[in-house]
Symmetry: C2
């Protein structure tokens, strides 16, 4: 059995995944209760051992995903949402407890990308892009079957590509980044702008409520998704010119509305796509979206599975 650990600001999820990509058992740890990375990892290690024991399973590998984790050395520094801002080695802390078991660490977007490759729709694909649309926008770039890491293992930071020079201020200190327009907060901001332009009061104050409005057919919420589709479609058409992927997978809470996002994305993508790629690139929802709660666990466990397979 492979174990996947997804460390988030509120919860850390630990799951046991079988060879067919099913989460056989899982448990949750409240991240906020722990005063140090060592304390948190002690509990996570204990949880892994307990799940293995209860299920009479062998721990064959452990994959851990965490915001800002670096795949090269397994460290985490200044992670969004975590209490621990100092740099620490997640890899070393886990290896203390599991010295003889393969352990792999990576950030969320990379883990989800490898999850798509190992368990999702990207099985056997050589060239694809994976874009996570959540509270931020992240990505994974796979070329010739391998996830691209690059400098400091920081490839795929596509949420910070500037799509509107001089546009909305971003948390990164720059302006006009993609995620300010198509991540959850950006979507809500666009929705409120569109409501103001139409002299209507916003009917949603959270992203979830806004997405529900769109699913219910609300005119201005749908117009917001059209606008997001315009940004994403042109952006993805540009991105296609870099690595020429055959597939682009969209993942995360913002994509959960399905065709409401996909239709305008595909339309603007095809309108803007360079002719040599026409009809060659498919845009689809991630195959991990159906088992939403498990996607992060699958992604994390896929990290170590892929490493053992030499991907």
């Amino acid at each position: 059995m492979f174990f996947g650990v997804d460390i988030g600001g509120t919860n850390a999820k630990v799951g046991m995944v079988d060879g067919r990509g099913r989460v056989v058992d899982h448990d949750t740890v409240k991240t906020g209760l722990y005063q140090s990375p060592a304390d948190l990892v002690l509990t996570l290690a204990y949880t892994i051992l307990r799940l293995a024991k209860v299920n009479a399973a062998k721990v064959e590998g452990i994959g851990i995903c965490c915001p800002n984790a670096c795949a090269l050395d397994g460290t985490v520094e200044n992670a969004a949402n975590l209490k621990f801002k100092e740099k620490f080695s997640l890899l070393r802390l886990f290896r203390n407890y599991f010295p003889e078991i393969p352990v792999a660490v990576d950030n969320d977007a990379n883990a989800a990308t490898i999850g798509e490759q190992v368990y999702g729709k990207a099985k056997g694909l050589r060239d694809f892009l994976f874009v996570t649309l959540g509270t931020g926008v992240g990505g994974g770039v796979v070329c010739d079957g391998k996830l691209v890491y690059g400098l400091h293992a920081m490839a795929g930071e596509v949420g910070h590509i500037v799509v509107e020079p001089g546009g909305r201020p971003c948390g990164c200190g720059r302006r006009g980044c993609l995620e300010r327009y198509v991540a959850a907060w950006g979507a809500l901001e666009t929705y409120k702008e569109i409501c103001a332009e139409n002299g209507e009061a916003p009917k949603a104050g959270s992203f979830r409520a806004f997405a529900d409005l769109a699913l219910g057919g609300d005119r201005l919420a749908l117009r917001t998704y059209e606008e997001m589709g315009r940004h994403l479609g042109l952006f993805l058409a540009n991105l296609a010119c870099v690595t020429a992927p055959t597939h682009i997978f969209l993942f995360g809470g913002v994509a959960r509305v399905g065709e409401i996002l996909l239709e305008p994305v595909r339309r603007h993508f095809n309108e803007n796509l360079l002719c040599c790629y026409k009809n060659g690139i498919r845009i689809e929802l991630s195959g991990l979206m159906s088992s939403d709660a498990d996607a992060a666990i699958l992604g994390a466990s896929a990290l170590v599975r892929a490493r053992l397979a030499g991907c």
Copy 2:
């Protein structure tokens, strides 16, 4: 000895390259004189054999670069500037004459990228970008030591990334592509616009004359390069987010002015770069620029050398 063949609209250059990347001998064939690809290749094959015989050398491999050539199957279709618009297999035509010698075919930008890797400044680099700035803009993307090919081997078409939505019309049928601002014709257009804004008559009617003006310190020509640096700097900062390269090499006639282009490019690049990449990415002129006339021959010969080395 490796042979590099660079097929252009006016001339095809054939060069013999030694193991240290020196063009030992070369010859030129007038492309326009030939009525069919087969006639042209017959003469090119004869030229290779003649150069080998004159120099008492063995033909160890032949690399050919040609606009629109596809590395996957060695075919060329609808090549810019060539008389032959129909699809033909450059690889098969060459293999007729050299059935037992390795032959590799690719487009110009990919050949130059591999040339940089084999003979230039990118020796030993794992992650870099190569951008050609000539009559068009092309590119090569190297991740983990390998050139990225992707769908239809069409990765690296960075000249057609839209940098000004709704901007200048491009030959590809879309608007606002990068090459309309930073390739030779685009540069000249910007120069003329800047002259008009300043109520001055343009002092140059060709790109070469314009570049000479900049080298001579002409105020409006330099302002044009500043504007090109703004476009390229932001563009490259965005591109960095995709594959996180450690180096970016600029190549081609537009880059021949050296620091006049590099200084504004680096300045705008650093201003726009996401903080996690700061101080980690170097922008330099291609190492093939010094031996300008030979760069294409080196690139073409590097194709087959890299293939034999398993790159």
